[in-house]
Amino acid sequence: MTAIFEMGIADIRSGIADGDFTAKEVAETFIARVSAAKPLNAFLVETPDHALASAEAADKAKANGEALGKMAGVPIGMKDLFCTEGVPTTAASLILEGFTPQYESTVSSNLFKAGAGMLGKLNMDQFAMGSSNETSAFGNVISPWRRNDGGNADLAPGGSSGGSAAVVSGRIAPAATGTDTGGSIRQPAAFTGITGFKPTYGRCSRWGTIAFASSLDQAGPMAHDVRDCAIMLESMAGFDAKDSTSLDLPVPDWEAALNSNLAGKKIGIPKEYRVDNMPAEIDALWQKGIEMLKDAGATIVDVSLPHTKYALPAYYIIAPAEASSNLSRYDGVRYGLRDLPDGAGLQDMYAATREAGFGPEVKRRIMIGTYVLSAGYYDAYYTQAQKVRTLISQDFDKAWNSCDLLLTPTAPSAAFGLGEKSDDPLAMYLNDVFTVPSSLAGLPAMSVPAGLDGKGLPLGLQIIGKALDEQSVFNAGLAIEERAGFVAKPEQWW
């Protein structure tokens, strides 16, 4: 039998159901893995009691012959963007240090209702702003992966859901929640050789998830494989009256309908994603992906998404604009950090608190967002960016006339070394070049691991689907997964 810690959601589920092991054993296994993984700096808070209590509940339910939830006995990692009742939640920012919510986010609550336990709160880029985890106020996560060049350089796990990616790829948790605003699930999934899924905007409630950019933020699963992502997303998603942008639609049984036979499906290959200076390895992987989908019965068509090159600039206007407003509530008045210099007035308190509480990248985006919304600049930046956003959505709508799905690389490179890009925000922003357009259009998209680069690091392929058609995305992902035979795992060095 595979060791428990190597298992994902589906394996744990059947193991508990078949009586191979108890949920408590599962929880204890992963709690020990979490304790041993401190060098990765992936957890901001550990919550072994929560994982154990859920496991005991699952074991008891099984003993009583009750039906088990979809996630019963599965201990997961929780990105620290989700507010968790009674458990400190900081979004990896000093400004929320000491903040303990008295409420449970809808997504975490849904997962707990489905039987999941929580191993702890996962480190991330501060307020989900970053692609390397280096913007965390509590030190970056270190990727479990290392290059095969013997250099042992510490690598970025990607971001912003870097803690989630690290623990799933390091087999420290069988699955973890992520959030994706412009690629924050997909890019770290690609960097760490796991599967990450961003659903259609509105599938998962945003209630209780700390906001970065409201019109883009979506929660999603990060797990070993496509099936695990389907199971977990079913447990996370669902209409929530407390979120006005939540979709009032039933949650499909994606797992039951998984089918890697793509006969009749047309896969579009957008020519604009063939960017300058793209590493040959990435291009080769993309070609391999095309062959795999053909092999699964799909037809390949060339498509054009002409406004793709404007997506990144538009995203880096819209997301900071919303963030600059969303982050105004962190003012030192009601919770979190308060820096009140002697004799200071209200304005001084705001300035001192926000100066001390926010990291440089968060400040940068607040400044950009404030600027683009300012009188005299609003039309030139924000209004223009919204127009671009509409054009990008229209690009996808037109593409759907000739295809059902799109296949692209997830990120323009494999994982980079920590510190390699942290001095150059623009180089960092380029990480999102392939993931941002589908975020702007609110479309479901996933990253599946499809191969390794020359240095032995994982590379991911991205599948983008029509709004609400998560099923086709899952199915195409499954087709790649079955054919790529990706089994590489990081060597345990920690």
Binding site: F82, C83, T89, A91, L96, F99, P101, Q102, Y103, S105, R206, W207, G208, T209, I210, A211, A213, S214, S215, A241, K242, D243, S244, T245, A321, E322, S324, S325, L327, S328, R329, D331, V333, R334, Y335, L346, Q347, Y350, T370, L373, S374, A375, Y378, Y382
Partner: protein, 495 residues
């Protein structure tokens, strides 16, 4: 306005004043605009605050449909365009009473467009002195919390109970030209809001307050630069602000200066406005569409239902009182100004099958006797100690001649004191009017016998003495004689 045009007399001649008002009216609703917290006035600080109101991390607004309904009904009540597509925008600024760091408002696409409000400066004859004031728009927005500076020697405290309460901002066109017009506009707007039930109009509790925009110009000239005086919370203060600002602006201009476009505050103690911030210091609110909320799209059926739910509004009611019930213009205006008064009056009329017959006398009685009594007692009509049915009983006794109008006043006083019914009082205290000619003739004979000299003087042409005989007769009958009968009999007997 035809007469008494308001002008400021300056050294260089007359100046005209141009006034626009932005009235903030708290929407009557159980819960706040975007949260489930209660809106009840007067609770202990911070006891009506939801996680959303306190802007806890990850909290999201959800729109209260009742507030939308009330705004639409208000729009329909002023014949305004209802925008089927509207949207919420964030107005960003930092202040301790604003936990989100932004107010959710509607800048770009308000829910209600242009409408009109008919005002009058002369309540004796409103139609002859009416004026139409344009309403530019109505939008919905959140109220802020309240800072308390008197709780601690060095710190300010924040009460978030009011934070997130729904407001309508009703923006007039700059159509008013005198303090009186502005007051009449606010009075009429308040009346309409109370009829509709969308705002209680309680200015003391802050349910209604106005930002007053004032500029001056030479009559008919180009519009001048305006100032905006914020948060003026009484009819009297609104007028005071306009008077002060208009004079101040004229003085500035005539002294060779220029009026600065700025936000000002009113100091009620000094009766002055003072600069709060100038245009250069004005906040850049960085308005943008709130991404947490979907655009608000209204169905025709919803708007139709809102329309159907409106009561008869003050202008229609006033016209009906005049034209159908035959009331004087004055009575019709006074009785319809407040919805509660009209409802009370109509309840009184409902006690009869032929309301037109008693309407005028009832209207006179309500506007003189009842209002007088309520005024004296400091009560509003909802708290009147005499019910419409009781009033109808009293008026019925006058109408059928059981008691005189004079006795009715006496009975009414007793009703106010005891709460007893008019019939009971009349019977118990023997106040029934004497109309029996025999009994009255007998008293008249006695009075004449006792005053033979005066009878002679009267018959010699001293007509004025007629009143003396009336008085003596009434006195002898303890005021219970039917005065009409007394008059007739005296005339006949005295010759």
């Amino acid at each position: 306005m035809t007469e008494s045009t308001y002008r400021i007399q300056g050294g260089t001649g007359e100046w005209e004043v141009v006034i626009g008002l932005e009235v903030h009216a708290q929407i009557t609703s159980e819960s706040k605009l975007f949260s489930g917290a209660s809106t009840e006035f007067g609770a202990e600080p911070n006891t009506q605050v939801s996680l959303v109101d306190a802007a806890m991390p990850g909290m999201l607004p959800t729109l209260n449909a009742e507030c939308v309904r009330q705004a639409v009904r208000t729009g329909l009540a002023i014949d305004a365009q209802i925008n089927k597509y509207s949207r919420f925008d964030r107005k960003n600024y930092f202040y301790a009473d604003l936990p989100q760091g932004y107010q959710i408002s509607q800048l770009y696409h308000p829910i209600v467009g242009e409408g009109v409000i008919q005002i009058s400066l002369d309540e004796k004859d409103p139609d002859a002195h009416g004026k139409v004031i344009g309403v530019e728009r109505i939008h919905i927005e959140q109220d802020a919390g309240k800072l308390m500076h008197d709780q601690h020697p060095t710190m300010s405290y924040v009460d978030l109970n009011r934070c997130g309460v729904a407001l309508m901002e009703i923006v007039s066109k700059p159509d008013m030209t005198s303090p009186k017009e502005a007051a009449a506009y606010v009075r009429k707007l308040r009346s309409i809001l109370r009829y509709v039930g969308s705002c209680d109009g309680n200015m003391e509790q802050g349910s209604m307050r106005a930002d007053v925009n004032v500029s001056v110009r030479k009559p008919g000239g180009e519009l001048g630069t305006r100032t905006e005086t914020k948060n003026v919370n009484s009819m009297r203060f609104i007028q005071a602000v306009i008077e002060y600002e208009a004079q101040r602006q004229v003085d500035v201009i005539e002294d060779g200066g220029t009026v600065v476009q700025e936000t000002r505050l009113f100091d009620p103690d000094k009766g002055e406005t003072r600069s709060m911030r100038s245009k250069e210091d004005a906040h850049d609110y960085r308005y943008f569409p709130d991404p947490d909320l979907l655009p608000l799209e209204l169905e025709d059926d919803f708007i139709f239902d809102c329309k159907a739910s409106l009561p008869e509004l003050p202008d229609e009611k006033r016209a009906r009182y005049k034209n159908v019930l035959g009331l004087s213009a004055y009575n019709a205006a006074v009785l319809t100004a407040e919805h509660e008064t009209a409802l009370w009056f109509e309840e009184l009329l409902e006690t009869t099958d032929e309301p037109e017959k008693i309407a005028s006398s009832a209207a006179n009685w309500v506007t003189s006797e009842l209002f007088g009594a309520l005024n004296r007692m400091g009560l509003s009509i909802e708290n009147s100690p005499v019910s419409p049915a009781q009033a109808a009983e009293l008026l019925g006794l006058v109408a059928d001649g059981t008691i005189s109008g004079k006795i009715a006043k006496q009975v009414f006083e007793i009703m106010l004191e005891t709460g007893d019914g008019a019939k009971k009082i009349v019977e118990e205290q023997g106040l029934k009017q004497e109309s029996d000619t025999g009994a009255i003739e007998k008293v008249i004979a006695d009075v004449m016998a006792a005053n033979e000299d005066k009878v002679a003087q009267y018959r010699d042409g001293k007509d004025k003495l007629f009143g003396f005989f009336v008085g003596q007769t009434m006195k002898a009958m303890q005021g219970k004689a039917n005065p009409q009968v007394v008059n007739e009999l005296l005339k006949k007997t005295l010759g």
